[in-house]
């Protein structure tokens, strides 16, 4: 370099890159751990503190915005202000570990389960789980709908050994709370009674993406069992047996028809 400053002579006393990044990282994580970084910054102590705070705020605001985009119903339920508190505490206990902020939020539901100030909202973690599955479904692999001609060629005597393939976006969730009802009343296009009886009983849901549109649908107990077995690639005979044990009156053909049209089930094949 052309313009060598006299400070070059002092370089041996300057911290190396790793030490500089250690110090700044510590200051960004914890306001009370900023002294190491402040000493490295070419400004008065007050200005250096203020500039580190700009980064600290940017980082928190990026993380909060990413979380809010993935968990819009949690935001609606708790309000933007308390969501900010949640986001700040989540960042502190489960900091981002990826350069892709779309991955931030994977442990948000477990965090809500354990956070002292959300214990009065025991259903909130399951709402967050549904939202995280929806977020994941948005980025899941594409898959064409079921090939009905291939299905028609399957002979009846093989049905017990059939494998029912679900779309890569499909995920199921069983909740002790009416999680579908809560999800439904918070949709932008929902019209009707908004009150939810939180003690109306357990509900299960399937999260899926039909072409490019993610959606959530309620599942009966037998449907939940069947889809769970299908997702684990269990043969249909075994899966149906468990489903009928759950509900002897289970109407499999009606469920299958709905799932095929929703592109939840995308294949039926012999092993």
């Amino acid at each position: 370099m052309k313009r060598i400053k006299p400070t070059r002579l002092l370089l041996s006393r300057m911290p190396d890159l790793a030490a500089t990044q250690n110090a700044l990282a510590a200051a960004l994580v914890d306001n009370d751990d900023a002294q190491g970084a402040i000493a490295l910054i070419d400004a008065t102590q007050d200005i250096a503190n203020a500039r580190v705070a700009i980064y600290r705020n940017n980082i928190l605001s990026n993380a909060r915005n990413a979380l809010a985009a993935s968990f819009p119903i949690v935001v609606k339920i708790v309000g933007a202000e308390f969501f900010g508190t949640l986001a700040r505490a989540y960042c502190a206990s489960h900091p981002s570990s990826s350069g892709d902020l779309n991955e931030f939020g994977e442990q948000f539901a477990e965090f809500i389960d354990s956070f002292a100030h959300t214990q009065a909202l025991p259903y909130l973690a399951d709402v967050a789980r549904v939202e995280w599955l929806t977020h994941r479904a948005r980025y899941a692999a594409d898959h064409p709908p079921i090939d009905m001609q291939a299905v028609a060629s399957i002979t009846c005597e093989h049905y017990e050994r059939l494998i029912m393939d679900v779309h890569p976006s499909v995920a199921i969730l069983a909740s002790r709370y009416p999680v579908y009802r809560i999800w439904e009343v918070h949709q932008d296009d929902y019209v009707g009674e908004v009150a939810v009886d939180l003690w109306s009983g357990a509900e299960s849901v399937v999260v899926y993406r039909r072409q490019f549109h993610t959606d959530v649908a309620p599942l009966t107990a037998a449907e939940y069992v069947l889809l769970g077995e299908a997702a684990r690639k269990q043969p249909l005979g075994h899966a149906l047996q468990l489903a009928f044990e759950t509900d002897a009156a289970f109407d499999f053909s009606a469920s299958l028809e709905r799932w095929i049209s929703a592109e939840i089930v995308v294949g039926l094949r012999t092993q």
């Binding site: 500089t20 400004a43 203020a50 900091p95 350069g99 948005r138 594409d142 890569p168 490019f212």
Partner: protein, 276 residues
């Protein structure tokens, strides 16, 4: 697919999800598009579908914000592999990242943090850019970032640092005029004078965006129109460095697409005026 080898001289815009509909339902008149790679790291879904669609009609540039080239404790390989997959999928006009760091240990700050501009940092950046270019089998562009602090250890002016990085690795320079202006105000140097460090042929792309004012410094928030001072600096850059593909970026309070197209049109006029 639009040919990536035909370098567009007109202005482009950063494609954001808020404007997907405009591009899926029509064909807005714009020279080229740039996307943030991290929004297309999924296995499938609508974002990738839109990306494939626009790639068929426009030259496309891939811009990363999360690779953290300058982390002293190593490069995050999975992030680079995802970028590599996207480069293979889209055969982009440019692939760019920043002169910064963001990851430290198991933590990622998801921000563009300033490097000390030292000989050690320069050697690290050279080895990282070499490595990324080897993996991707193409040259990348490295962008100057806006910063709110500078280190006592700084030895090399920012644009000299990036010019030397380009000379040593063959990478291109993505010159962000707004970042340069923000830094000139925040750190008190002459932005025009800083241009002297750059060699014309290394500058492959220019970024323009809006900033806002805080108590004692400027904040690079990409949330408003390009300011008059930044347009002035841009005009000088275009006169000096030639017809460089220029991108309008907008990331907070994203307005209607037409506002971005208007800003891009303004850049086009400046390019046309300087080279009439």
């Amino acid at each position: 697919m639009a040919d990536r080898h035909t370098r567009p001289v007109s202005a482009g815009i950063g494609l954001r999800a808020a404007h997907y509909g405009d591009f899926m339902q029509g064909h807005p008149a714009i020279g080229w598009l740039e996307v943030h790679i991290e929004n297309y790291f999924g296995a499938g879904g609508y974002d990738l579908h839109v990306l494939d669609r626009v790639r068929a009609d426009y030259p496309l540039s891939l811009h990363g914000v999360g690779l953290s080239l300058g982390s002293a404790d190593g490069l995050r390989e999975t992030h680079l592999q995802k970028l590599q997959r996207l480069v293979e999928r889209t055969d982009p006009l440019h692939v760019s990242e920043h002169l910064c760091w963001g990851a430290h240990g198991a933590r990622h700050f998801n921000d563009l943090l300033p490097l000390p501009y030292t000989g050690e940092a320069l050697e690290l950046m050279i080895s990282r850019v070499d490595y990324v270019q080897t993996v991707l089998q193409r040259t990348i562009l490295v962008e100057n970032v806006s910063t709110y602090l500078k280190y006592r250890a700084d030895e090399i002016p920012e644009l000299e640092f990036i010019a030397e990085l380009a000379r040593r690795t063959g990478c291109g320079v993505l010159l962000d005029i707004n970042n340069l202006y923000v830094n000139a105000i925040n750190h008190g140097f002459d932005a025009l004078h800083a241009f002297d460090a750059l060699r014309k042929e290394t500058i492959r792309e220019i970024h323009l965006a809006g900033h806002s004012s805080a108590a004692d410094c400027l904040i690079d928030d990409h949330g408003s129109r390009v300011t008059a001072k930044v347009w002035d600096l841009y005009s000088v850059a275009i006169q000096r460095f030639g017809q460089i593909p220029t991108l309008i970026e907008w990331d907070t309070d994203i307005p209607d697409l037409q506002v971005l197209l208007d800003e891009a049109h303004k850049a086009d006029e400046i390019i046309a005026f300087a080279h009439a």
